[in-house]
Subunit: 316 residues, 2 copies
Amino acid sequence: MDASSGPVIALSGGVGGAKLVLGLYRILPPDTLTVVANTGDDFEHLGLTVCPDLDTLLYTLSGQANPELGWGRADETWTFMAALQRLGGETWFRLGDGDLATHVERTRRLAGGESLSAVIDSFRRRLGIGARLLPMSDDAVRTRLETDRGALDFQDYFVRLRCEPAVRRLHFAGSETARPHPEAIAALAHPALRAVVICPSNPFISIDPILAVPGMRDTLRASKAPVVAVSPIIGGQAVKGPTAKMMAELGLPVDATTVAHRYADFLDVYVADEADADAVAGLDMPVVLGPTLMQTLEGRERLASLVLETADRVRK
Amino acid sequence: MDASSGPVIALSGGVGGAKLVLGLYRILPPDTLTVVANTGDDFEHLGLTVCPDLDTLLYTLSGQANPELGWGRADETWTFMAALQRLGGETWFRLGDGDLATHVERTRRLAGGESLSAVIDSFRRRLGIGARLLPMSDDAVRTRLETDRGALDFQDYFVRLRCEPAVRRLHFAGSETARPHPEAIAALAHPALRAVVICPSNPFISIDPILAVPGMRDTLRASKAPVVAVSPIIGGQAVKGPTAKMMAELGLPVDATTVAHRYADFLDVYVADEADADAVAGLDMPVVLGPTLMQTLEGRERLASLVLETADRVRK
C-alpha cells in the first residue's frame, strides 16, 4: 500500500486544533481521517453533559462552526439564555439554542446507557461527516487546575474566570482508571497508518489529557507511523487562549521549543512557524518550518498538506 | 372581613382555564389569587420534566403567552428543534428555545432535591407574578388513557396522535398515593375564602386529575366558600380541544349539563353560556348565564367579574 493513501490520526482539542483537522479532512480521501478528541474539558452544566472540544469538531467538520465567535454554531440564536436569565438560572456558560440540542440529545442518550463514542458517532453521521470522531475515552476524565485562587474545575477556570488565575499544576481526574477508546488504540497500531498528527492545541489542557489516558502515550511511542506535532506557539505567543500564559506560570520557556520537549518521547518531527526559526534552531529533533497561522480555509489546507508531506518524508 | 376582599382559589388546566385565571388575576387585589394547577399532563421528554399546564399559567400570567399559537411563549424561536431534528432526535413535541429554559432549569432543580412547588414558586416570583401558583401535588400523577388504539400516555394521545384515538376510560397513575399540596388544602379551608372557581378547562383531563388527588374533592365538598364552575361547553361544542369529542366517546350527553353533573357533589353555582340556556334549564342547581367565550382581555375580565359576583351572591 502506498503510504500516501493510508489512514491518518489527529489528536485535537477544540478551536485551534479543529482548524488543522478541517484542513486534513478537506484534503484527505473520504474515510481516511480519525480524530481523537480531548474530553478533559467536558462537564455537567444545567444537568446536561457538555463536551466543548468534541462539539467544536462536530460543528467545524459539518460546516456549522461560528466564524465570528470562534466557538459555537453559525446562525445561532440565544433565546434560551435570555429566558434562563429571567428565571434566575446560571448564565456564565453561554449555550446557544442550536448548541443546546447537542447537549440535550447527548445527555438523554447517555442516560439511556449509550457510550459517549456511540452518541458522537451517530451525531457525526447525521451531520454528514466522513471522518471518524472519537473521544479519547468513554470514561469521564476531568481537567482540574491548582491555581493561586485555589483548586478549580476546568470551565470555572476557563470560562467563568476567563483564565485569570495563575496555574500551578494540572491534573486529570479519572485518568488513572480511564480506558483509552479501543478504536483509537487500534488506529494508532494500524500497520498502514500514514501519520499521527498532534494538532496545534494547548499542550497542557488539550493534548496532555489525551496523553494521560493509560496506554495512549505508550501506543504513540510504539507507533511505527511518523508522529508530527504542529506548534501552537507563533512568534513566541499563543494565537488564542492561555497557552503562553500557562507556560510562564508553570515556569517553562515561553517559546515553541517547550511544546516539542513535552512530546519528545514520541515525536518524529516538529512543524513550527517560520517566525520561530531562531527559537527552534537548537531542537534535538527534525523540524520543518512553515506558515502555521490558519486564518483562511486555504491556510488550513496548506498547513495540512505540509504536515502530511512532512510525515511522508520522515517515513522514507 | 368583607367577603369581596377574601382570597380566591381557581382550579385550572392549561389554555382555556388560564384565560379565566388571567381575568381573575387582573381584577383581584394583589396576592388574593391562588391557582391550583393540573399536573396530570406533565411528562418526561428528552430527559426533561415538562409541565404544560403550569407553564401555560406562568406564561399567561407574566404576559409571555403566545397569542397566535395558543400555547408556548411569545417571541419564541425554534433553533433547538431544527438542530435536534438534524441530529435525529424526537421532534413530535415541539419545544421552543425560550420554553426550554423553563424545562432545563426545572429539571436541574428537581434533580437537586427541590419540590415542584418550590421551583414553580421561584419561577412565578422571578416572572413578577403576584398570584400563588401551586401544582395540585408535588407527587407525580400521570394521566393515561385507554383508547381504541390501546393504552396511551397523555402526550402521546394529545400531541403525537392529535386526540384522534377514541377514549374509553381515563386514569390518573399515582393519584392513589399522591398527597395534595398542603397549601391548596389550607387555602380551600381558609375561613375568609371568597370563592373557589373551577375554570372552564376540560373536565376529564384537566379538572378530574386535580379532583383525583386524595383529599381534594372532600375538601371542596366541605368548603364553606361558594364553589363556582364555568362551563367549557359553548353552544353544545368545545371552544378548543377534545372536550366534546371525549364526552361522546365516553357515552355522555354532549352539552353543558354533563360538566355540571360531574361537579354536582361540591358545586354551589354553575356559570354557563347564554347560548346554552335551553340545555341547562333543567339543571337541579343554581345556574347563571353569561358570555363565556373569552376572545379578548376584556372578555376575560368580564367573565371573571361575573364569576366573583355570582360567588358573592351565593354566599349572601
